[in-house]
């Protein structure tokens, strides 16, 4: 994006001249959550606009799928949203299974859900931790990262990787749970669940923190739907929508969990604090889901027999998964060959970015940081 047209503008209304300052926030900026860039036009501390630069991090992931085949694309899905790669794995696996009509073994589904929910815990911990850090509190971040480290250890036990998992396969998962895994995870959950309350004691209701987030960048329900916000950002506006509940997939219909929504407890409904609080509450729900899965998990195989050169019949398939950043759409068109004809991924961060420009008007520069953090934007997921 060229900066032409965003140079100095002198407004002359009612005699007092003000000059807008164009600030280039990012791509190398400490708080932009990856390689994200905003062109901010500010009048002193107050922003006129903040235009996100979408496309800077484009890596043509969708195009790659057309060259590497169905199985071979699995590691690339890790890179769509590297903060919570499990759900991306699941999305790709599910869309391929739907296109090819593959049935996943029941134990495989449970493994998937356990992995996904652990991944969600890790992702939300990073999100709330960096959010507090963006607001200026350093200690809660280290506490969140400490717990995330434990989740990463668990996921490493599961699949050998800590960030880009490549755990799932079309037709199930790559490996069964390692021996003693149930006890390990239960021990972690026992230790972790009280810490969520401790986290709330530590920072969530801190006076300064609440003052910084309450009433900042509030999104109404209608606005959120018009701008296609999904996931915690949508639920933060008080709209109860969760793919796991409303368009169930995998074994989610059998599980008992709640869909937390924003309540506007400290300010307007749908402000930054509500989005933050929804994530905190989802941590608890994820813990609940993992516990249920560990209890209900049946014996059996984890991977169905799938052809090495998978050739789904001609046609297309679409699935939605509830990723950490919300409703993630996966669409694949098959022409009957072993390579997808076209793949499309629709992510939550992308739609969250589109509302930034609108919300940022009239906010202060410091509020933009809170806004980006509360939308939980992951830069590579925006551009794919």
């Amino acid at each position: 994006m060229s900066l032409a047209g965003y140079e100095f503008e002198v407004q002359r209304d009612d005699g007092l001249a003000t000059e807008e300052m164009t600030l280039n926030m990012g791509p190398q900026h400490p708080s932009t959550h990856g390689v994200l860039r905003f062109v901010v036009k500010a009048d002193g501390e107050i922003m006129r606009t903040a235009l996100p630069d979408i496309g800077y991090l484009h890596r043509s992931i969708e195009k790659i799928s057309e060259k590497v085949g169905y199985h071979g694309f699995m590691p690339y899905t890790d890179r769509v949203d590297y903060v919570s790669a499990m759900q991306c794995n699941q999305g790709w696996a599910m869309v391929c299974e739907r296109a090819a009509g593959i049935e996943v073994p029941r134990r495989g589904e449970f493994c998937r859900v356990i992995a996904c929910e652990l991944g969600r815990i890790a992702s939300h911990l990073l999100s709330v931790g960096t959010m507090v850090m963006d607001i200026g509190g350093m200690t809660p971040f280290t506490h969140a990262i400490r717990e995330r480290e434990k989740v990463n250890n668990l996921l490493e036990d599961l699949c050998g990787a800590r960030l880009t998992f490549n755990y799932m396969r079309i037709g199930g998962v790559a490996w069964d749970l390692p021996p003693g895994y149930t006890e390990q995870v239960t021990a972690f959950l026992d230790q972790f669940e009280p810490l969520i309350d401790e986290y709330n004691d530590l920072i969530s209701y801190n006076k300064i923190y609440v003052e910084r987030l309450a009433n900042v960048a509030a999104v109404s329900k209608e606005e959120a739907i018009n701008y296609n916000l999904v996931g915690p950002n949508l639920r933060g506006c008080g709209f109860q929508y969760d793919v796991r509940r409303d368009e169930p997939y995998s074994i989610y219909p059998e599980l008992d969990f709640e869909v937390p929504v924003g309540t506007g407890e400290v300010g307007t409904l749908g402000d930054c604090f509500d989005r933050y609080m929804v994530r905190i509450k989802e941590l608890k729900e994820s813990c609940k889901i993992v516990r249920q899965c560990l209890e209900m998990i049946p014996d059996g195989p984890v991977l169905a027999r799938v052809a090495k050169k998978l050739k789904p019949p001609v046609g297309d398939a679409h699935v939605r998964v509830e990723a950490s950043r919300g409703d993630m759409g996966w669409y694949v068109v098959s022409d009957g060959s072993e390579f997808p004809y076209r793949t499309k991924i629709r992510t939550g961060s992308f739609s969250a970015m589109s509302i930034v420009d609108k919300l940022s008007r009239g906010l202060m520069i410091a509020d933009l940081i809170a806004l980006i953090a509360s939308l939980d934007v992951v830069a590579p997921e925006v551009d794919r």
């Binding site: 607001i135 200026g136 350093m138 801190n206 003052e211 910084r212």
Partner: protein
């Protein structure tokens, strides 16, 4: 000190050199000794302490490799910074860019002139000591603005402007919070203020009346804001302004900014100790040796100053950052009116009890102690039920 130099001149050490040349030269020599022998280690230790305290609060270990317990970490960082390339951006205004860090460091070094470390250890007991400190701190805003503007970077400029606005605004509540003490003592000299207090807590101005108690904390908050500490670290908010006015600086000049920042943190603690905690006052009569007495006074003074420094570290590790408009409204809507209330309240108090109320200080000391006990009991309770493993061993 002047008499010491006069003695040297009289003894003929300098030969026939004119006294006008000897005085500045000797002043320069003494200043160098003070800076390199006292201030630099002090700042290094403060930085090390901050990092250790901070890491303990965050359940980390912190620097513990360089020297015993990592005390020499600051030295290692200093060496690293000096060896780094000193980058001056092409578009920067070179003279101002180069000069600004020195102005800031000079600003905090100059405050050491009036800080009385013991009854004898004070460089100059100016009769406007407290005003002098306020003046020097006010000048440091110019240095920050200079650094911000000369970097020719919008983030730097924003940081510089935020910082200057902050310093200029918080000077007023800070000045107002000083006034009750000045009213009580009738002097601006730092030694005079300390001599008006006693060694016992109920003789401190902190517990003199409720008004001075509030004034102490109002001053502390304002001082935190003037030294850009959390929750007022808005000028160098790394998540908003990258590094504020220090964004374009590197190497030695960056180290100078650090030096100034942590140096002024200690100065804040020292001023708090002077004004409200009785400075170097200790019980007298147990020794006649002036050297021992002065060392004891020095120790007491350092402990009191570092109490406030520690508090600032704790605050920094705990609280998030407030926004610019919130900072301004805190200053003008709360602290400034509070300062006036304190001022008038202290004046009324002095009219009612010209010699000071004898009962209230004891009551306040007891109340504060009770609060502290309750506080530490709660801390202990939370430590016991804390789930994650904590590092209780301070020797790690």
């Amino acid at each position: 000190m002047q008499s010491f130099i006069d003695g040297l001149i009289a003894s003929g050490v300098f030969g026939g050199l004119p006294a006008e040349a000897i005085y500045p030269a000797m002043m320069f020599l003494f200043a160098s000794i003070v800076v390199f022998g006292f201030v630099l280690p002090l700042v290094t230790i403060t930085i090390w302490l901050e990092r250790r305290v901070w890491s303990r609060i965050q359940s980390r270990v912190g620097p513990n490799r360089v020297g015993p317990q990592g005390v020499l970490q600051g030295l290692a960082d200093g060496v690293k910074n000096i060896l780094k390339e000193d980058v001056v951006p092409d578009a920067a205004d070179r003279p101002l860019f180069v000069f600004a860090p020195y102005l800031l460091v000079w600003g905090f070094l100059a405050t050491f002139v009036v800080i009385p470390f013991s009854s004898a250890l004070v460089i100059a007991d100016l009769n406007v000591g407290i005003l002098y400190i306020v003046a020097i701190v006010a000048l440091s805003a110019v240095g920050v603005l200079m650094a911000g503007w000369a970097s020719n970077n919008k983030w730097s400029l924003l940081g510089g402007i935020r910082s200057a606005a902050q310093v200029v605004s918080y000077e007023i509540p800070a000045g107002l919070a000083l006034l009750p003490v000045v009213l009580l003592t009738g002097t601006l000299s730092t030694q005079g203020i300390i001599q008006a207090q006693g060694w016992a807590p109920w003789d401190w101005f902190l517990f003199h009346s409720p008004f001075t108690f509030i004034a102490a904390f109002a001053f502390y908050i304002s001082a935190l804001a003037e030294t850009n500490r959390t929750p007022f670290d808005i000028p160098e908010a790394e998540s908003e302004l990258v590094a504020g006015f220090a964004t374009e600086y590197s190497g030695f000049r960056f180290a100078l900014f650090f030096l100034a920042e942590w140096g002024s943190l200690y100065v804040t603690g020292a001023i708090m100790a002077v004004l409200f905690l009785g400075g170097w006052q200790i019980p007298t009569g147990w020794t006649n040796n002036t050297v021992v007495l002065n060392i004891a006074q020095l120790t007491v003074f350092f402990l009191k100053a570092y109490f406030w420094v520690f508090l600032a570290m704790w605050i920094r590790a705990t609280l998030p950052r407030i926004r610019v408009d919130q900072m301004m409204s805190l200053c003008w809507k709360y602290l400034v009116p509070l300062g006036f209330v304190n001022l008038v309240g202290t004046a009324v108090w002095m009219v009612i009890w010209p010699e000071g109320n004898t009962f209230v200080p004891y009551l306040m000391v007891v109340g504060t102690l009770a609060l502290l006990v309750i506080f530490f009991r709660r801390v202990l309770y939370h430590l016991r039920r804390a789930k994650p493993e904590l590092y209780f061993n301070p020797a790690i």
